[in-house]
């Protein structure tokens, strides 16, 4: 069964304190891994797609990386406006997207 696990469930950081969010997956034939940001009461906003191990994508203070078993979303020198829930989703060979439960990130000023 295709599964996605995100950790930690919640993370509190001080402004400027860098950290990483983890997305571990077990799927049959990864076709893509997606990262989304979701603000309270809003729909998820697409951030990155990663297709193969070793691939990296960057956007402002965020960098996503991918290995054969997991993906990391690195956040460098975060600001309070980076506070949100970050969702990971994987697309297996069966082509049914599987979402993780998300990591709720809070950046304190």
């Amino acid at each position: 069964e295709d599964q996605v696990t995100q950790s930690p469930e919640a993370l509190r950081l001080q402004e400027g304190e860098s950290s990483s969010l983890n997305c571990s997956y077990t799927v049959s034939g990864l076709r893509g891994l997606f990262w989304y940001r979701q603000d309270p009461g809003k729909g998820p906003e697409f951030l990155f797609t990663l297709y193969s191990a070793g691939e990296e994508k960057e956007k402002e203070r965020l960098k996503a990386t991918l290995t054969k078993k997991e993906s990391f979303l690195h956040i460098t020198a975060p600001k309070p406006e980076d506070s949100a829930t970050y969702l990971c989703a994987v697309l297996p060979r069966a082509q049914k997207l599987v979402f993780g439960q998300g990591t709720r990130l809070t950046i304190n000023p």
């Binding site: 076709r31 893509g32 997606f34 989304y36 009461g41 809003k42 729909g43 998820p44 906003e45 697409f46 797609t49 297709y51 969702l87 989703a89 697309l91 082509q95 049914k96 997207l97 979402f99 993780g100 439960q101 998300g102």
Partner: protein, 114 residues
């Protein structure tokens, strides 16, 4: 650029009443369309998806239904709501044929069944 509209933003309905949520996409043609439900602590659950007008696939048996009367319009309906239908409903689109293209979500409808 492409945009997706979903309405209403919030809805409070009594048990047994009907439901109609609407979603429209602008700026793209022949999109794949999706309805998801997001419950607290349970992640995103795919309810329906459509690859074309009148083509609906259901992922979870329930008292909800979906229709796609036009290429860029997707409707989620129910004849009689249950308490368990409460949740956050999200419409999304992706590029047709782009099996590995990302989903793009609307801002959702918060449904409370009382």
């Amino acid at each position: 650029s492409q945009t997706i509209h979903q309405w209403p933003a919030t809805l409070v309905q009594p048990v047994g009443s009907p439901l109609s949520l609407e979603c429209t996409v602008e700026g793209t043609s022949n999109p794949n369309l999706y309805w998801y439900r997001q419950a607290a602590g349970r992640g995103l659950q795919l309810l329906f998806y459509s690859v074309g007008i009148g083509q609906i696939s259901s992922e979870v048996p329930q008292n909800l239904s979906a229709s796609r009367p036009q290429d860029r319009q997707f409707i989620l309906s129910s004849k009689k709501l249950l308490l368990s239908d409460s949740g956050f409903y999200l419409c999304a689109w992706s590029v047709r044929g782009g099996y590995d293209s990302p989903l793009h979500f609307g801002n959702g409808t918060r449904l409370t069944v009382t």
